[in-house]
Amino acid sequence: MNISLSITKNIHNWLFSIMPEGVASITEMVLIAVVYLAIFAVAGLYLVLLERRVAAWFQLRIGPNRVGYQGLLQTMADALKLVSKELTGTIKADKFLYNLAPYFVIVTSLMALALFPFTQEFQAFDINIGIFFLIAISSIGVIGILLGGWASNNKFAMIGAMRSGVQTISYELSVGLSLITMVLISGSLQLSEIVEVQKNGWLIVQGHVPAVIAFMIYMIAGTAETNRAPFDLVEAESELGAGFHTEYSGMKFAYFFLAEFINMFIIAAIATTIFFGGWLSPFGITESIPILGLFWFLGKTLVLIFLMMWFRWTFPRLRVDQLLTLEWKYLLPLNLLNIVLMALIVWLNLTIQF
């Protein structure tokens, strides 16, 4: 039982000093699980609030500002309300799958969350195939959506789920390929090592042109992966009711909702880690204070999340055919070209290093 759980060495050593090894590692795992669940809930709720405020500002409104200071408790109150609500469902729904679906979605996003190096030491699971693991995990999430849509026995949910299948399968390619482009230059799949590589300049600077192209493709495909506008065909309020979660209510609906926002966080966090140096401060200005890494990591992630919100409140929704055209005719060929370009640049040593 020696999985490399590398959250702060001190706690680790302290736990192992007061307990036998087996008990200590189990306690440690439980502790970490609780911490991550807390991060999950708090981050999810506050992202929802952020989204609502940002959306309001984009539309020249004010947004929720009544519950707590500037509406800070609004989403907490919403969550409480959702918990207290009745869980309804359709009679002919496939009960087992129907109840299982939200957990698929939420467990996958939790698993992905465990991989990120929030700071040098604060990383739950530093696996050596990090990026590969992330790509693999993020494609499990779609199963939850498909199951949810299929099992609710509702045609709108069904259409939403099928669209989600189309969309996620297509755009996964682009996410994967754009990350592979960056792996060419980082030379490692392990997230902590990728951050380490960026001590000589963030990868988006090191890789200059192809890296910027890869970043753009990643952001587009990532937005599509999270089913957010302009790629929100899956939910498409004006067409499908609420899409795949039409038949969900109460806390099960909240799971889907939270998972969507956590997925947005995950996409932004991957981009932060791969392109913008993770917890590294710009030009190493706060290198002496490691805990500030958390600040830099979250700061960069929030900027990218803001970018995705900006997309959402600017662009109109795509049609399904336009969605597929964009992916297969534009993003994919460009991505393949971009990989060749990146390979050339790495081969000829044209990267910019400080």
Partner: protein, 158 residues
Amino acid sequence: MSYFGDIYRGIKTLLTGMSVTGKYFLHSRKGAITQQYPDNRDTLKMFDRFRGEVVMPHNENNEHRCTGCQKCELACPNGSIEIIWDRQIDPESGKKKKMIDQHIYHLGMCTMCGLCIEACPTDAILWAQNFENSVYNRAYLTKVLNKPGSKLMPGVEE
């Protein structure tokens, strides 16, 4: 090549759109159109085109501009206006003349279409911008627009 041309144009238009919304985002503090209503009740002023209810303005001598021609009554699609009039002797000319007695307006039946105001040849009725129109009894929604004892403003009929 039109393929790369398309990509260039696509990115350009997307960035144009984002700059527009970005500007809105930056100016949202000043330009927010949301009214935090019960809080700013004292200062809240409705914009001119707001249709609250039909009123008949009177001047300081308690004179209005309504001749009792009934055009508003005819124009109203809902029958929310009733004009009660009779023929009285005009004190100035000494002749019998159609005069308004009561201009009755049923706010509860009004759809705020504004046809009565357009139809009025003497601009006797106007929109008011008040919006707190709820009352505890629907009888209060029936209003007499001309004030008691008011009379026609001289010179309106010419």
